[in-house]
Amino acid sequence: MPEPLPEENAEDLYDSAPCGYLTLLPDGTIVRVNRTFLQWTGWRRDQLAGRRVHEFYAVGSRIWHETHLAPLLHMQGEVREAAAEFRRADGSRLDAFVNAVLRAGPAGSQALVRMTVFDAKERRTYERQLLEERRSAERNATRVRLLQEMVVRCAAIERVEEIVAPIVRVGDEAFAATATRVWLLDPAQAALRPLGVADELLSLDDQAPEARAAALLDVVRHAEDDGGLRLVSPMLADQRVLGVVSFVFATDRPDPSEPQAARPRAYGENEPGPTRPRAYGEDEPARPRPRAFGEDEIELMRTVGRQAGQALERIRLLEETTRRAWQSGFLARLSRDLDETVGFTGRAMRLVELLVPDVAGYAQIDLDAAGDPAGEPAWRASAPARPGGGWTIPNDVLATVHAAGRSGAAPAAALLITIDGERALVLPLRARNAMLGTLLLAGGEVSGAGHVGPEFLADLADRAGLSLDNARLAERDREVAHTLQRSMLSGDWPADPRYHVVTAYRPAVHTLEVGGDWYDVFATSAESVGIVVGDVVGRGLHAASAMGQLRSAVRALATAHDGPAEVLRHMDDFVSHFAAGQMTTLAYAELALDSGVLRYACAGHPPPLLVEPGGVPSFLWEARSGPLGASAAGRARSEAMLTVPRGSRLVLYTDGLVERRGERFHHGLDRLASAAAAHWQTPLGLLATELSDAMLPGGGGHDDMCLLALDYTDAPPFRTEVPARMQALAGFRAALDAWLGEQGVGDYDRFGVVLATAEAVANAIEHGYGHDDARTVGVLAQVDGGAVSVRVSDTGQWRPPRTALQRGRGLALIGRLMDELVIDRGTGGTTVLMRRRAAGGGR
């Protein structure tokens, strides 16, 4: 028999129910409340009755009641399972769930709200767990995404400063940090520097969390006095610390008076506000509360540090590689540019130009006066222009730099100086263990941490010093060499109607140094002429001076000895005796002017080219032996002899004329033979130029070139002595005209030559001899190739014309009639050399 069920009292059922009961008017006024609710909250019935329920809510629930619960009751008549937070009498909170129904009262009476209140502590705990787990999962997912984004962004950056943005973004969005700062380790100073903040330095010895994190190689958590937090994660690469990331979490919310639009960022989905401390599972809201960090967040910060460290390491490597590439490229460009710049001063000026702005904002070279560091600089180059003419380097600095420069220490250190608040580096310019002066650099990259570093600058200064010194030496050499060469190559040839000589010299295209090529023409006797073309090994002053000695030697030996073989033998002796010009090659020939007998010899030199009348070329391949001073084989000097017909042309040259890169030497000779044949008709005066042009299109070759062409004139000259009387002119003219006619010279050419020659003779009679008919005027005329050459000479004293009208009328005529005109008014008389290229044809 079952026990009878206990009697249930409705009142007790209501009051002692396991849930709170509240009966409210629609406006929230409490009409009735059960004991359970009173017990749970600690309020007395009389404290509640007649008061609005809002007063007993926590503020959130108060608003929630108005914005949600009340409207829902009006719209759907009931609300289920809504969270609510009540204030207890002791100030603590009651977490609850409420169900509420709106019941229309009997007609005429007010509607009522019945609310049941369940203690939801456990349920809420469970909910909070759920919520926290979900949030944590979301946060972690978000963080992993943000971290991945950071890694991707870090992988794309190329400069250290660019790492800040991705890290700050992670700080903002993954950790909701108030501020995120990136500090870089400055190993030189054993300190941390915040990126993007000027002149803040934190010693590694400091107790600041940043310094501690850098020392510990792990995340350091630091509670601020104001309740805020700082978490610092080291940026590591291979367990080396490169810097730290500092996440700051302030306690205070943003100033609520700020308009929302000005808030620094919008919240991500489900992300809490950036700084607001949140606490779950605590009944008492105690603010401010420090933000809690789970191990997962700490680990994430570690990862951020490691990823950032690796990114930094990569950037450093990249920057180092870029810098090295730039440096070596710059130095290579510098050397090349300087080498291409002629002269010492030019090179110094080019140097300062090249340094600005890539290396410095301002560059200045001061060159010492006779190595006296305390003296005024002898010479200065600077760029860009600077008021006051540049920096004055203090004497003590100069002394230090000079001492460092002379010590020979490598690399030469740069000295940092400050003048008038501006910083500059001073470097010694030195070469061959001597100080040339100083290089001063200021502004631009020098003051920053850009491409330049001390090693680079030292390298630069050493290269610059050497280049300048080279220029100085080369300039000195070149000046002498050019002078020598000019004197060697000047065409001061003996004038003899029986032959004519033209020469050409072309320096190599790509060098400024003089070469050792030379040519020479001289009379070996009254009846013979010697011609020589030679090539001294090497370039520059050494070659030029050797060339000068050899040239003089050939001249002297040729007049003292008989024949080319003998000359070469003595040249060998000369070369070995004076130790100059070894391995010089030369071609030497002597032409007997009356007989046409040609004797020649080649010492390691390309063969002379003979072009016989009609344009038939042939190389003279006999009498070949080795270069001067060469070993025994070359000592067997020989010579060859042949008779050349009048009207022949002999061409001597150096290999620069026939050598072309990638071409066989014989091919070059063939080209020369063809070109010489093709230019057979070319008057000798133009031959040297045209032949050179034909052989070396573009103006020059890779080597110097020297060419000598001799025409052995094909007819005996017209030679006469005209008495110094004007009345003798008519007869003279007739004789010359007749001779020219015999030589086949056309009417106009004949007339022009006769008129010009007669004018020259008349000048000599009038101005040279003053009509002294005891004297004579010598006339020598010659036809060679297609041209008529005339020499008119007197032995009188030149007297200027008496009137302006007379002056120059004769010469004006000559100038128009003849293609070439040379007047040599020497102390022993006047010689007029004239030449007219035959136009050909009669009248």
């Binding site: 608003i63 108005e66 937070e85 909910e127 919310r253 308009p259 919008a266």
Partner: protein
């Protein structure tokens, strides 16, 4: 996407009648006007809509960055008016929507004939002499409670947001059929709402304005209504007998009468 679709616009009444636009405030959706708005449909073109993020609006259009200020909601409102080609409208805004409408009317006064502000507050937080009804700390607490009331407020969304497909009953038993809101959006809307300060905008109003103030309203106390009345040029204040923050639900007759009376005045 058009504003009509985005904001779940519902239209009642004759097309060519003068327009009256109802906007809901924080916490619910256009249903807030279900007892009032239809009564104007006889002689008005009634426009109802949900703010982006609320009700049946297109949640995909919600962009936390964009909706970080009330200005964005005002822009949406103007967009709706432009799209529907409405001018000279009567705007009725409840709670925070009162300020949204006020901002819109200040931006384009031509489109507005009259403003009706129901339970408006230009600033909820006390500030020196200004009484807004809440301390800064209380608003913090409100936002905290939004977090803790998360599930309760968003019951309909619970199965989705909890990600607990294996416990569907959790979502099931907590659902409420109205006032569905994505909790994250609600959270931000609350923050935008309760941290807003539109006091400076009150003086710029150039449209006839009616302020409906409830007698007992913990969200918009009478001091705030008086402040609005004092600072909006030429505004009319009616203190309703209704209590609470939602007279449109708790006292629809009185609310209708007050609005209707205002519409009939010049």
């Amino acid at each position: 996407m058009s504003a009509v679709q985005r904001n779940n616009i519902r239209l009642l009444g004759p097309e060519d009648a003068p327009a009256i636009v109802f906007a809901h405030g924080f916490g619910c959706d256009q249903n807030m006007w279900r007892f009032v708005a239809p009564r104007f449909a006889d002689d008005h073109r009634v426009v109802l809509f949900d703010h982006v993020g609320a009700g049946n609006s297109d949640l995909g259009a919600y962009d936390a960055q964009r909706y970080a200020s009330l200005g964005a909601y005002a822009d949406d409102l103007l967009e709706i008016l432009r799209e529907l080609d409405l001018r000279g409208v009567v705007f009725v805004g409840h709670s925070v929507a009162a300020m949204i409408g006020l901002l819109a009317a200040n931006a384009e006064p031509d489109r507005f004939a009259k403003l009706v502000l129901v339970g408006p507050s230009p600033r909820y937080i006390d500030d020196h002499d200004y009484y807004g009804g809440f301390s800064a700390g209380e608003i913090d607490e409100l936002l905290d409670s939004l977090d803790s009331n998360y599930l309760g407020w968003s019951a309909a969304m619970a199965p989705v947001i909890m990600g607990n497909a294996d416990r569907p009953e959790l979502g099931e038993e907590l659902s409420n059929s109205f006032c569905r809101t994505d909790p994250a959006i609600a959270r931000q809307f609350a923050e935008v709402t309760f941290r807003s300060d539109n006091r400076a905008d009150l003086g710029k109003v150039s449209v006839p304005t009616l302020i409906l103030q409830c007698s007992e309203d913990v969200i918009a106390p009478r001091e705030v209504g008086a402040y609005c009345n004092a600072n909006i040029p030429g505004s009319t204040l009616i203190v309703l007998h209704a209590t609470g923050h939602c007279p449109n639900l708790s006292a629809p007759d009185e609310t209708f009468a007050a609005i209707d009376g205002f519409l009939r005045t010049g």
